[in-house]
Symmetry: D2
Subunit: 398 residues, 4 copies
């Protein structure tokens, strides 16, 4: 039986060319698989037809936007996942979902190989291949761009030679990846760390320095997930999309940073993630109100490890599952309303209220009604500082 | 010999009244000690005279602004110290310095007791008393406000009765603490978590939503410390002060959060720390460029613990010293320039350059000159994912 | 209605006297509650009758040995819980269970106060009171030994004066606490750190230096819990008891250490916990075989925090619940057999076998059948070391 | 000029053959470099002559035993370095030292390549190559066994064909690596996890189950380093060697475990490290006496990371340097005596005394002289448990 290869297909030049090229080189039948995670652009049907026109024996297209929001963005929100305290893991979140559909397609269509178009110096190759290894350890992986040193020039020549229905003239000076959780821009003049980003590289966000009216929004969470915006019920996808629009219109969520890639190099990355940043900002403050101190302190370590793991391609790892159990338990009481003002590039929390609040007005107030027994403090302070005091007696003697 | 008490003196109503009150209650001589950490307000000489007029046998005033910037703010900057990822430890940093001068004053003037005016439900009592215990374990501590349940009403009555030279009519609805690293505002209507802060509570920062021209600044760091601003040499104190002015004028550094106090309750706090936030923002990005990945990842845990320790009053603890050793070593190469735009409440890094950079253009670029050997990636990815893959074989079987 | 106090009752002198004393001092009715966690000694009925004879209006006795093993010791085993890497949390585990029964008794009998006999410098007062606060925040706590400075002398006098049916002559020179998970011995000549423990202080373990025949045992685990010993099904309680006997007979599980108490002091503690140490030893090695590397590495941090939390009296805390979720997930595949030799004070693992093993003979062997593709290593090593190499180029230049 | 290769030379079959083979294959001149880290066996002069006889143009031999003990074993002791809580990093510690001498030899003799004989599935290839990359990023690395798929059979054939002065008949069924810090045994029948080790695989330790007289020893530490044994001054090397002898004679320090290799597989390893285990046991307990609680708790995390880093080949990494700074500071007061009994495979601490002790008899004792103010406890306990209590009120309501 002819071997079959499932190719992660975007509809763009590189992966369109890859269909025929893989077939030529390996004699295999190629099945294109395109997954919509909210990257926008062409509709799935157009992409499906192009894949077939380029020689795919099958073309599978999946609208996975809700699944992505539910099963990938919501856990990231619960983890306040910010790699290096900044990057909300835009691409890193979509890869495991795409892998899941590639593997399902391979099983359904009897393929033994999965192919992707990543280069050999980025993080995405790791996320694809480690993901495939974890979901279907018996599938082989083909990475033609990396392992056969493809170039854009070769791809254009191939496309023209074979008359592929793909526009070879459009070429962004940047490498861009986007989905509903955000948008990543790299390469081009950004490779010089002293160059500031220019306004035209952004697409999800407006210029935050342009004066405009602020936008006030109330996000309601249940167990760490947004369930209402301004009182209207929303799905996770709707919550992200609405906040992408509203926070994006105020220039919220632009990031510009030097980042540590898993393959050992530093790279310059620019992101825009208005919905993600607005939601994480709100979620963190609701946790401040509803999560007990020791749990909150330890959760920061869990959050950091979670973000590193996912960045490093280990979504489908045993540690990730155990961290998720911790996080799920931590979200039990993260329920309530956060009011934010979106304006001038900032998402600023201005109010919080929650039935699950651990803020106790009567213990906190310095006003009438103060219920805090200050006489307890002396003993507390004395024993809290006792180890330091005993050490000081020793150290001052020395 | 008459017992002597060193009182942490601010010049305000409560501690002015405390001078006489302590003398009355204990028969001790009171020595007032006022430390300038950049809190502004009256000059030290005025404060000194008032202490004497209120009955102090000695009044010691110390301009500790440079010491505070050098020895307390700079380590906090190296640690990117943000308690709960937000609060730059404004009050928590000044307390150990004030304690240091109280203890020195006690030694110089033969006092056996140190007194402070903190209440029993805040963090500062802990910082004062644990600090005293660590620097001078034999000194006793007196906390009249906490242990004798003082009230403002009693203080006013006492001041009027004794004709103390202090204005008893001024009363902020808020509790405020400020120094060169920032300003803290609490109580009043802020005790209702749903109330937004109003513009008049701020003093270090302008309204970020007012349109104005952006301000671009270049901060030069050496081993993690700011040494130049726009090319002009600065001391740590000058760096903070200049950025307080420039970042404050753009509304940078306002924070509004619910915070976990050491005494076990949650409280609402508003801060403004324009210089601190601008410096930390710049410093973090310079670290992204100059600090190796594994070191950067572990340093985040060290930073969190450092901030918790200092917040929790353990500045003079053995763990703090060991964490400082780690951090000092980590700053060895944190040298270079960061360009930022201050505008609309945001401090945005737009450029970085460093002789110590670990960013290697030739390894990072996707352009000509790419020196990264992509053939290495396949083996890396395979072994990186091997534990997940082996686990997957087991788990899928189950 | 007369107030009612539930007293944690042991049957010994101090708590027998406390019954009448509390009644005298407070006018309340005292309900004695004794919980059997495997401490041995008198039977529950004898204890119950003594409580009534001493003046209790009710005496509740609970055989909680199985509950203790199931719900307290098994989670500790899953966590490999060793405070300071040594102490298996003997007393720290039983306190929350006792608290649970005190609270239940208080609810059932309409009591508004819980009383315990702990001193003010140990850990147990914290475990009792924090536990009560977490299970029944409205109950008050009475700690007569601590808050009214009781002494043994006063207790004896009271007992003799009131003719209480309790032997006042027996007096161990040590303070001892024991349950099925182990036994703690402190005070007496052990307070001198240079004194070695003597043989007569031990009760669960034989002298390990006496020559005797080794004992080989096979423990079978399912999801981290012992389910069979030498092929015979056991409950958790039976597993601990059988290993207490067999490992104890070989002198396994003696510990002698200086320990950091929560109240800020160091103390000398001697423990014997033959079953606990044997089980933890076996469990750790089974985890080595069945738990993936990254999960195992992070779990060590979780284990340390878990042990600290439980030691520090925070069994019923939100963080503890979240850590338990992590641990439960981590145990999913900790299933298999561990063969150990118990001998001469050592529990030595000599064999492991598991259907869930992640050890892959074909990948590990250097013999025929080696399936490891060594050609992958070069790329892995190169990229693994790349951050160090790039840093070295910078550092060597400097 | 002819290229020169520095080969890590052991004197054994594989590396003796490698001399000629590398010369043949690459046309380079081979310089053999043998480093004595206490592995025993032939003397350095014999090894040096064999290298020359096998065709090396130079043969450099280095007695690095003291350097190894001072600069590699002592930091490991300060870190209580036990990978996976068990393995004292025997081989992992020697590799960076050997690399240091290889690199120095390469510089001295103008070599541009370093060669080692490691396979592609172990950890040592990583330690060699990452180490070389960190000390001399411009040197190339050659790994003939891994990259050219050498086998023992080919090596024997080559040796016989070329008449090399090396005995090809001796063949251990095990793979062994040893140095003064310990000895590692793997492969052979140990690859079956159910097989127990047999007595003949051990060399540093006697059978612990044979009855013999106990041996009592007093180790004196200064700042975490052993400086005297039974009152007699020792160098670090002497301390390790003497305890290897004395603890080894009592069967102390045998380990048998399944271990997570960096390359992603699990392997079975048996170790014996009598001196290392005895020293770490003593050092840990001296830390219990002299290190403050919070520092001790955080140091455990540092220790774990330190052991992982060194195991993973990152001795010369920026993070390692920063962790060392932390650890050095932590050892400031780790000074004093530990008395241990070595017997029956166990090193048991029986006494500790230190001028730097933080154990305060007067605070700890329950006897006369008790200086602990128990009245402080109530307030401490109440505020310590307040977050749990507030959370409980919320959770019980839900």
């Amino acid at each position: 039986m002819t071997e079959r290869v499932v190719l992660a297909y975007s509809g763009g030049l590189d992966t369109s060319v890859a269909i025929g090229w893989i077939a030529d080189q390996t004699g295999a039948e190629v099945i294109a698989c395109a997954v919509d995670v909210g990257q926008g652009g062409e509709d799935l049907e157009t992409i499906r037809k192009r894949a077939l026109a380029c020689g795919a024996v099958e073309a599978v297209v999946v609208d996975a936007k809700d699944e992505f929001a539910e099963d990938y963005c919501m856990p990231a929100l619960a983890a306040n996942a910010l790699y290096m305290d900044r990057y909300p893991l835009v691409s890193a979140l979509s890869r495991p979902l795409i892998v899941k559909h590639l593997v399902a397609t391979a099983k359904e269509h009897g393929a033994s190989v999965v192919a992707h178009g990543c280069t050999g110096k980025g993080n995405d190759q790791v996320r694809f291949e480690v993901g495939v290894g974890a979901l279907a350890p018996d599938l082989k992986v083909l990475a033609p761009v990396r392992d056969f040193a493809w170039t854009r020039e070769k791809a254009i020549a191939y496309a023209e030679e074979h008359g592929l229905p793909i526009d070879v003239t459009k070429k962004s000076p940047f490498s861009i990846d986007q989905n509903v959780w955000g948008r990543a821009i790299e390469t081009g003049f950004l490779e010089d760390l002293w160059n500031a980003p220019t306004e035209e590289i952004y697409s999800y966000t407006q210029d935050p320095s342009v004066p405009r009216e602020p936008d006030e929004v109330i996000v309601t969470f249940e167990r760490g997930r947004p369930v209402k915006i301004d009182g209207h019920p929303v799905t996770p996808l709707q919550a992200i999309q609405q906040l992408n629009r509203r926070a994006g219109a105020q220039g919220v969520g632009r990031l510009d940073m030097v980042e540590d890639r898993l393959v050992g190099i530093k790279s310059r990355e620019v992101y825009e993630a208005p919905g993600a940043i607005a939601l994480i900002t709100a979620h963190q403050e609701l946790e401040n109100v509803t999560v007990e101190r020791d749990l909150a302190r330890f959760k920061r370590q869990v959050e950091q490890r979670w973000a590193e793991l996912v960045y490093d391609g280990l979504w489908y790892s045993p540690l990730k599952r155990a961290l998720d159990s911790f996080i799920t338990t931590s979200q039990e009481h993260v329920t309530g309303d956060i009011r934010m003002v979106l304006h001038g590039g900032r998402a600023v929390v201005t109010g919080r209220r929650s039935e699950s609040s651990l803020y106790d007005f009567n213990l906190a107030t310095y006003d009438e009604g103060d219920a805090f027994d200050q006489s307890l403090a002396r003993g507390f302070v004395e024993l809290w500082g006792l180890p330091s005091k005993i050490a000081a007696k020793r150290d001052l003697r020395a």
